[in-house]
Structures are given as C-alpha cells and as structure tokens.
C-alpha cells in the first residue's frame, strides 16, 4: 500500500550531533545474586534521523538491554550512547524529552484508564490539560481505540494494549521512537496492520529503532538491520547487504521418486552453483544464480526416467545469512 522509501546507504559513521542514535563500545553487565550477566558486550550503532533501524536477535540477545540504555532506564556499565546528541548517562532528561518508547511488556499506568494514560503523558510533556485531551482523542481515533476510552489497561487485549502504548509513545511527537518487540504475541492480521502504521510513521519522517525476533519483520520494515546475539553485533547493514555479505544462496530442494539421477552431479560445473548435496532420493542445490535450475533438475530426472515428487526454492534471506554468519540455526 505504501511505497517503501529508497534504501539509504550510510556506510560511513554518522557523527554524534547529526545521528539520531549513536553508541560506542556500549557494555552492560547486570550484577545480581546469581552472579554477573554480560548482557551487552560492546555494541556500536549509528542511526540517522528519519531512518527505520532494526535490532534483530534471538531471546536473551541483549535487545531490551540496549533499548533500556538508550532510553536512560538501564545504566551502561561502560561505553557511550547518545540520542539526538545527548549522552544518555549524563543528560537523561534531555534524552527523555526527545524519545518515545514502547516497552516489551505492558507498562501502562494501571491506575488510569486508556484515555487518561494518553492525557497525562501529554501533560507530563508540557501540554496543557486541554491540548493533552485533544491529542489523546486524536491518537485514540487514529489507532481505532475510541471504544476502549474508559478501558482499564489490564482489561485490554494484547493488541489493544500495544496500540495504546504506541499512542502513549507518540503523544509528545518524539524525535526517536523505540519499539521493543512491538508485534510479539499479536495475531498475523494485527501484526500486518501495525506494520502499516509503522511504515506510515516513518514516511512522515519518524526515526524508528525496532527490535524483533522475526526475520521477516526486519526484512519487511527496516532499512538497516543489526543482527545481535550474546550482546554483540554479528553483522549490520541493509537487509540486502547482509544477505550479500553472508554469501547467502538460493537453495533448491528436489525429491525424486527414485534414486537421484547421476546427471545431477554435472550441475557442480554449472556457473553460479556453489554446492550440490545428494541424500538418497533428494538433492539440494545451493546457487548464487538460480534461474532455470529447477527446470534443469526436472529435465535431468525425466531423461533418466525418474519423476519429481516434490520441489522447493528458498530465496536468500536473513535466516540463511544468520546461519552463514553464526553457523547456528536462528532460534526465535
């Protein structure tokens, strides 16, 4: 529905003043009774104004901790982070003035109803009571929450609460919007609707930093992505860059109704093919240039008198890139 803005290429680091978000060698080690947990171990990010940036990583990767440090709620152990040019540790109030955050869990004010949650957020940020109520009504309408006006936060469904939290984060027109797994636990329809909302926000110039478990979410939304695990950035860049740098191949899998014909082995010498794996009646071909390959595999089969029972083609994805980068299956 909405055209994606052109992918920006920003390989050179952005200086702190111009960057919406910048971190240098950021570390966080939690000290608890159970010992020390190194949650973030040297993360460097720079995100430009207006950019839609994704932090992609499995459970426990350190995404929420990173967001926590950028929103001044988690104190970095070492390193530096600035948001809109303000150091999060030294000037937390200046940072908080400029950001909105949708946390992973439901952190709505349970003593207030849905409308009041937005109204008071506006007032905390300096709006008069009248302006705050107008802004709250406007956002509730935009996010289709008007019928939940008087609803208590803990009585709302997961999707409603998430939308209300997004409204709350937007009340004061933040320069940078942080979204910590905004679509986790939402049904597919609600998730896609939320994607549309986020795309629209970004096309209006909103800087967004989003964390997600989902490869397809990062691919669908983010201009640039940092893949993180165990508190470190494994790779970063545009989604296409990541796929390319990881050397991700298209994977074609074909199952025959008999043993794999010998002719298949000859494909190893075909241009663009990186690897051919044969296991019993199934062959898996990894290729950079996969045009026509599937047809050839079928043809090889029929000339040997063997039929094809199943065939699939998997295009390069973040998932295959993650696999190549870490040597591990992506755990969602």
């Amino acid at each position: 529905m909405l055209d994606r803005p052109p992918i920006k290429r920003m390989d050179e680091p952005i200086d702190e003043i111009r960057a919406a978000v910048r971190t240098v060698d950021l570390h966080k080690t939690y000290k608890g009774p159970g010992g020390e947990v190194p949650a973030v171990q040297g993360i460097d990010l720079s995100i430009a104004h207006g950019e839609f940036y994704g932090l992609l990583g499995p459970n426990g990767a350190g995404k929420s901790t990173t967001i926590g440090m950028l929103t001044s709620l988690v104190v970095p152990t070492s390193g530096r982070a600035t948001v809109c040019g303000f150091d999060v540790a030294k000037h937390p109030v200046d940072v908080k003035r400029r950001i909105g955050m949708v946390s992973q869990g439901n952190t709505l004010d349970n003593e207030l109803n849905a409308f009041e949650n937005l109204e008071f957020r506006g007032r905390y940020f300096g709006l008069s009571a009248r302006d705050a109520r107008r802004r709250a009504g406007e956002l509730m309408e935009m996010f289709n929450l008007t019928d939940r006006r008087e609803g208590k936060p803990f009585e709302m469904s997961g999707g409603q609460a998430k939308r209300l939290m997004i409204c709350r984060a937007l009340v004061h027109h933040p320069e940078v919007l942080f979204l910590d797994e905004p679509t986790a636990g939402l049904d597919p329809q609600t998730r896609v609707n939320l994607w549309d909302v986020l795309r629209e926000l970004q096309s209006g110039g909103q800087t967004i930093l989003l964390t997600t478990h989902y490869m397809e979410e990062a691919e669908a939304l983010c201009e640039r992505v940092a893949v993180i695990d165990h508190g470190k950035v494994l790779a970063s860049g545009t989604v296409d860059d990541l796929k390319a740098s990881a050397g991700a191949d298209t994977v074609i899998t074909v199952s025959y109704d008999g043993p794999v014909p010998d002719g298949v082995a000859k494909l190893r010498d075909r241009g663009g093919v990186t690897k051919v794996e044969v296991t019993g009646t199934q062959v898996r071909v990894f290729a950079q240039a996969a045009d026509g390959l599937l047809g050839e595999l079928v043809a090889i089969g029929s000339s040997a008198g063997t039929g094809v029972t199943d065939a699939s083609q998997l295009r390069p994805s973040l998932e295959s890139a993650f696999l190549t980068l870490t040597g591990r299956e992506y755990r969602e």
Partner: protein, 294 residues
C-alpha cells in the same frame, strides 16, 4: 488502526505530523504528576481513606463513648493516662490519633502503589520515561503521599473531636497555628519519605511483614494513647521509644492542639522532624533511583 491503514479515504494527520508545541519544564511535569495523583485519589477516595479512618474512629467510639457510658474498668484505667493532664482521655487521644493516621496514611499511600509499580510489569517505566530525573520522581512520590497523609489527618480530626459521650469531650486549644501547620506538613513528608525508603529497601515479601512487625509496634508505642511525659514511670521505655519517629509527630501535635497536656519541648520534636524529613528524603531518593534504574 484501520484509520491509519486507509489514509487515502481519511485526511487524518499522520501520527508524526502536527507541530510539536511541547515544552516540558520541571515544574510543569511535576505538577502534571501531582494532578495524576489527585485524579487517582479522587477515583479511589473512599477506599483510600476508609482504611485509615476506621481504626481511630472505632477507637474513640469505644474509649470516649462506650467505656465512659458503661463506666467499666477500662475507663478507670484510661483515665490514669490522662491524670494530671487536666483533661479527659479523649484530649490525649486527639493529637495521637491524628498523628498516627498521618503516619499510616503516608506509609500506605507510598508503599502500596510502589509494590505494583516496581514489581508487577514494572509500570514505573511509565513515570520514569517522563522528562524528569528519577530522584525528582522520588521527591514527587513523597510529596504526593504527603498530601494524601495530610488529607487523612484532617479527615480523622473531626471524627476524634466529635465522637464522645457527654462530658468526655476533648479540650482542644490551638495556641500556635504555625507549630500546627509545620508539624502537620513535616510529619506528613517525613512519614512518606520513610515509606518510600522502606518500600524501596525491602523486597515485596518483606513489606507484608513490615506492616505487622514495624508499623503496629510503632503505633502502639508511638505515644498515641498517652503523652510521652507520662512514660516517666517507665524510664527505659520512655528512652527506647525515642527511636520511633511517630513519637515526634504526636508530641508536636500535642504541643499545638492540647498545650495544657505535658508534651515534649519544641526544639526536640521540630529538630527531629526537620532532620528526619531531610535525611529520609535523601535516603529514599537514592534507594528509589537504585530500584528504578537497572
């Protein structure tokens, strides 16, 4: 959400648009948070104040009305407490019950919401993201609970003033309004600061225990039912209870409301109230910040 996903049909402004006329300043944010507390208090008015009013009202009913009427042994015992104080037992009770109500209300006003905000879903995040430093947020919480405590004290006052059998009424005489106001305000603030300090220091399981093991003895031994001077007969206890901050609130109110009853000297209760408020606020700002920021 459909309103957003169908922008072609609706001219609604995009969520990111519209001129941001937002100018948050510390006083504005602080006042907005106080307005929130007032809204919450108005919604829960009955529940909030019933819990602190019930105990003193029942107490004066039994000791200033029922017992004097039936002339039971209790009344005789009670009159011992007020002997030499030139008044009835209810005269002793008025400052004590108002003072203990203030302390209790302040503690509950700060600790109960805090248990929810810090533990269940960490909804403190909602307030922590407001453009206000976290130590200032602690000051705001202390102020808000202090206001609630003051209201609690003012609600208890008429109850303990007017509930009594004939001839058993308290003799109240405000000799010094400034003392009264200072003791009421500082007593409220000191108690809510103590509440925030304890609430951020203890884990939730221990808070239950605190109410039983700290607050109950605090009010039984807080010079609520007898003036501090009357404890001269039990010297060790008289000295021991000086660690109880509630003593100073009650004795200060005694000096302001019933000056004819023997009370602690002004320098004692005033200096404890001032120093206690400052120290507990400072301590609570530190422990609160440690709990909110990870």
């Amino acid at each position: 959400m459909t309103a957003v996903s169908t922008p072609a049909s609706s001219p609604a402004p995009s969520p990111a648009s519209a001129a941001p006329a937002v100018r948050p300043t510390l006083p504005r944010t602080f006042l907005a948070m106080m307005a929130r507390e007032m809204r919450v208090m108005r919604k829960n008015f009955v529940a909030t104040f019933a819990r602190v009013l019930a105990q003193p009202v029942l107490f004066v009913f039994v000791f200033s009305y029922v017992l004097p009427k039936i002339g039971g042994a209790g009344a005789g015992t009670m009159s011992a407490a007020s002997r030499g104080s030139g008044g009835t037992f209810s005269t002793v009770l008025v400052p004590g019950l108002v003072g203990s109500a203030i302390v209790m209300q302040a503690m509950m006003a700060v600790i109960f919401p805090l248990m929810m905000e810090l533990n269940w879903q960490r909804s403190i995040t909602d307030r922590a993201l407001a453009p206000l430093s976290v130590p200032m947020l602690a000051v705001q919480k202390i102020t808000a609970a202090g206001v609630q405590a003051l209201i609690g004290g003012l609600l208890v006052f008429p109850c303990v003033l007017f509930v009594h059998a004939s001839g058993q009424g308290p003799k109240i005489h405000v000799s010094n309004w400034a003392t009264l106001v200072v003791v009421l305000v500082l007593g409220s603030l000191m108690s809510s600061a103590a509440g925030l300090w304890l609430g951020t220091l203890l884990d939730p399981q221990k808070v239950q225990m605190m109410f039983a093991l700290v607050l109950l003895p605090m009010s039984m031994l807080g010079c609520v039912y007898y003036p501090w001077a009357a404890m001269g007969h039990i010297r060790w206890l008289q000295i021991l209870v000086l660690v109880n901050p509630m003593v100073y609130v009650n004795e200060g109110l005694r000096a302001a409301l019933t000056p004819q009853v023997g009370h602690m000297s002004a320098w004692a209760y005033l200096s404890v109230l001032v120093v206690g408020t400052v120290l507990l606020t400072w301590g609570a700002m530190r422990t609160f910040t440690r709990r909110v920021l990870q």
